[in-house]
Amino acid sequence: MSTLDTRSGIGSDVPLWKRYAAGHHWRSADEEFDACTLGFWLFLATEVLLFAGLFCAYAMLRYKYPEAFLNGSSHLDWRWGCLNTGVLLISSYTMAASIRMFQLDRQAMGKLLLAITFACGIGFLIIKGLFEYTPKLSGWFISFDPALPHYLDFKNGEALGGLFVHIDGYGGKAPGQFFSYAFSDNPFEPLWWSVYYCATGIHALHVVIGMSLIAWCFFRARKGAYGPTHYTMVENTGLYWHLVDLIWIFLFPLLYLIH
């Protein structure tokens, strides 16, 4: 209740974060911050258990059909996975550093680091979507894909003035019903692709949600909403982003490093 008077006696040139007052049902802003963090950790627990279903499906099916998973995984290039791991780890660092900057009231750095984190998210999605999903699903490669020269013998189409190149027979590594890849060694390989696309797809969805939160934080930060005494939103966005990273830390070896 004692925090309610923080508004009084402060002029309008005072940054937004200094004028923040806790909700009327809280005894102090610290209590509110602690509660928000606890609430967010509970939410993270639900996210972990959401992915638990995917990990469980992965474990049961891999135990049943190890060869199908081996065959399927051999189509993934670990170098892309590794690069994406690096991108996410760096973005996790920039996110943590950004919170630190807001805690120290270094607004410009905080915003810059938020922007870098957002850019890393875009990088992750580009690698995932353009270099991994698109060729595997459709056989369309972007012309500067480093893997493309290897398959040029089977080129059978171009689009957008040569920006995209179609390789006959490469695509069709789709989940379940839509699987149409002709060179598979294992009858259960469509299942592997189902698990792969469900897991990475839902993870990618979380990347997008995380990026939206970061964008929101960025725009609020431009108005000076976050500072040493109030940065709950950045903190929780950070927690969410780290969780996205955490999931990927487990998905990467499970999907890319099977042998």
Partner: protein
């Protein structure tokens, strides 16, 4: 006992907070040092390189010494490193080391639920048919079809394992010679895969749970006989219609 708090204590008893709940509350306003953050990032990147390196190493060991490492080695190594990385992220990036212990408890409780989920599901799913063989998996390898070959409404209905359907279709389209060439190219695209090196008949060379013997006769007729020795576990289910259809 519910009145215990009401006993006025002489040493600074706070009527508003008789249990002292607020006194030891650790508010999470810890600022991590920049060096720590950079250091943790460095360690995480090193561990990423390590997990890739070890996976390659395992493969090298298997081919160099011509031994077959048990399957769990791959998973155990990868998961151990991933757990270390995750712990670092949790402790330093997500500040569990500095924040209210209740947050750590929440996370651990959720991991316990995760573990229970995996353990009991695996206990059941992976141990069916140990006592009553009738409860063992009865699955038509690769499926019995019934799905459509494409998105459009008038697409053909696949009446066999979809992998076989698409394989035959491509064979008819491009002929066996080009088919073999394409398969070799696509399998070698990421040449790290040990089994892909031996070509289209590689699946015949090893016991593979999860493959159906004789399924790939169209592409590898010569390999048929070699399947005989290890066909028992999958040939039987494959001969029966899948449950429920």
């Amino acid at each position: 006992m519910s009145n215990a708090h009401a006993a006025p204590a002489s040493h600074g008893f706070d009527e508003l907070d008789p249990h002292g709940a607020g006194k030891h509350t650790k508010h999470s306003h810890h600022i991590v040092s920049g060096v720590t953050l950079v250091g943790v990032l460095g360690i995480l990147l090193v561990f990423t390189a390590l997990t890739v390196g070890l996976a390659q190493g395992e493969k090298w060991v298997m081919s160099y010494f011509a031994i077959e490492l048990p399957r769990w080695v791959n998973v155990a190594v990868a998961m151990s490193i991933a757990t270390i990385k995750a712990t670092l992220v949790l402790m330093y990036f997500m500040l569990l080391r500095y924040s209210n212990p209740i947050n750590t408890i929440v996370f651990l409780v959720c991991l316990v639920a995760f573990a229970l989920f995996l353990f009991f599901t695996g206990l059941d799913i992976n141990n069916r048919g140990n006592i009553d063989p009738i409860k063992a998996n009865q699955i038509q390898a690769g499926g019995i079809g019934g799905i459509k070959a494409g998105w459009s409404k008038d697409a053909a209905v696949i009446d066999k394992a979809s992998v076989v359907y698409w394989r035959e279709r491509k064979l008819n389209e491009v002929g066996p010679e080009k088919f073999a060439k394409m398969k070799a190219a696509f399998s070698h695209g990421h040449a790290e895969h040990a089994h892909a090196d031996t070509g289209p008949t590689a699946s015949a060379a090893k016991v593979k749970s999860g493959t159906t013997p004789g399924l790939f006769d169209a592409a590898a007729p010569a390999a048929h006989d070699e399947h005989g020795g290890h066909a028992e576990d999958h040939a039987a289910p494959a001969a029966k219609p899948a449950a429920g259809h």
